[in-house]
Assembly symmetry: C2
Homo-oligomer: 272 residues x 2
């Protein structure tokens, strides 16, 4: 099969970005390709498992995966699939909702910093500090100058993590407005999905273009060599998960991890 | 009396600094001045109390006091005296020792960020993130380039706090090597002070000049308009405490705090 070209979806630093020009579906995939996706996912899941065990044992690097996207873009689903076969030992998923009272009395990175990965850890942010340059912008709660300041703080915050050995991968799960319509309708139709339905989903949908603009601005202002953004076509769930898995495996492979040296000579120990 | 000219001791941004040229005792104070210090301290303590209550009630600003200095320079004593008459409600003192295992697996600002003041709070750092650009430098554990990166991260971290409403006051308690000798001897002589004696105090004393150089470099690299450093002459305990109190009162006064508006009309309530 053709390998997933995740590098096609990497957003270069500082270039103007128009999300409406980026596809929400993978480039023409043959049916043969699609049939091979599940097999590829199995290979990646095993590789991810092997690499994560090495990350955990060696404790020389850490990994932060930031997942952002409109409602129904598949953040929860992606985490469930990609990390299905990984031990929670050394892996954490952190969800960030509307800031609570105490959080609001701190800078916007305070609650985020506390949840960042330690060396040896892989952490998934289900939403993140990027919410603070999206929601308040669309709602008109902060001016452009304030928003620029926040991008600036985000860049420096992420460079601090990167300087400390944390690799950062940021994925924007890119779905079309039509696909969201189908998925929201599916939630309304299925009583088992009702718990996920929120009034804000429908409110945010009305501001679709404003959100696309805010996302594009934030992504182009904060994509860098050490903390890149990827715009992941997310109308196809299988392709979305495959691409995130490919990205993680690639990132871990490029760390050239190895198991730590034993602290004792194993030959000294004889089983009796 | 002559007011304490704290502004004399403010370190301008980026200027070369030689701590051995700065006095560890106040400029010639007449005995009459000295006699008036206790009265001035009482006035300041009351004002600090009044302003802190307003800070706590209004929750629009916060204050961070960073205390650094060689062993016996008086960080503990200064906190004890200046905050003696202040309610711990809204006031926290945080001490930072040698980083523990989990802390070492995070960036050096991780444990610091979690302890920063919320709006409404006054927080004292008894040692701080500055330890990470002092101890490892003197011990040769990090190179100059790594140290410069840390200064850079510190500047951005403090600008994040400042942008979020936190006023920052950083005090280096400046004692002479001779005065330290007297104070260490006093600790050795007094069984009630033995708990404070640590082998590292004597070790660090041997590297006095290296510490002075590392302090000077860190202070000049991180003093700014919104996060200034003050070199407080600290051979006189009374003067040291007075100056820190003056600084805090001045900083709180310049916030032009006021009590929050009541959320209800108090005239609606009649006592029966």
């Amino acid at each position: 099969m053709n390998a997933i070209n995740w590098s096609d979806w990497r957003i270069p630093d500082g270039k103007a970005l128009d999300l409406s020009r980026l596809p929400t579906l993978p480039k023409a995939s043959s049916e043969t390709d699609k049939l091979q996706w599940p097999a590829r996912m199995t290979v990646l899941a095993e590789e991810l498992n092997r690499l994560q065990a090495m990350l955990y044992a060696s404790k020389t690097r850490g990994l932060l995966l930031v997942l952002q996207g409109m409602d129904t873009s598949g953040k929860d689903g992606c985490i469930r699939t990609v990390f299905a076969h990984i031990s929670p030992l050394g892996v954490r998923a952190e969800a960030f909702g509307v800031p609570q009272a105490l959080e609001q009395r701190h800078d916007f990175l305070w609650r985020i910093h506390g949840k960042t990965p330690a060396l040896g850890e892989m952490v998934i942010f289900n939403r993140s500090h990027y919410e603070d340059v999206l929601v308040p912008v669309v709602k008109g709660q902060i001016k452009h100058a304030e928003c620029e300041k926040r991008w600036h703080h985000i860049r420096h915050f992420e460079s601090l993590l990167s300087d400390s050995g944390i690799a950062i991968v940021k994925c924007y799960l890119h779905i079309s407005k039509d696909e969201q319509k189908k998925r929201l309708q599916a939630r309304l139709d299925d009583p088992l999905k009702h718990w996920k339905v929120q009034a804000s989903d429908f409110e945010d949908r009305r501001h679709w273009r404003a959100y696309m603009h805010a996302y594009a601005q934030a992504i182009q202002a904060t994509s860098s060599d050490t903390s890149p953004w990827f715009v992941v076509p997310a109308d196809s769930k299988a392709y979305r998960d495959l691409m995130v898995a490919e990205l993680l495996v690639h990132t871990l492979q490029s760390m050239t991890l190895c198991m730590p040296r034993p602290t004792l000579d194993v030959r000294d120990f004889k089983m009796k």
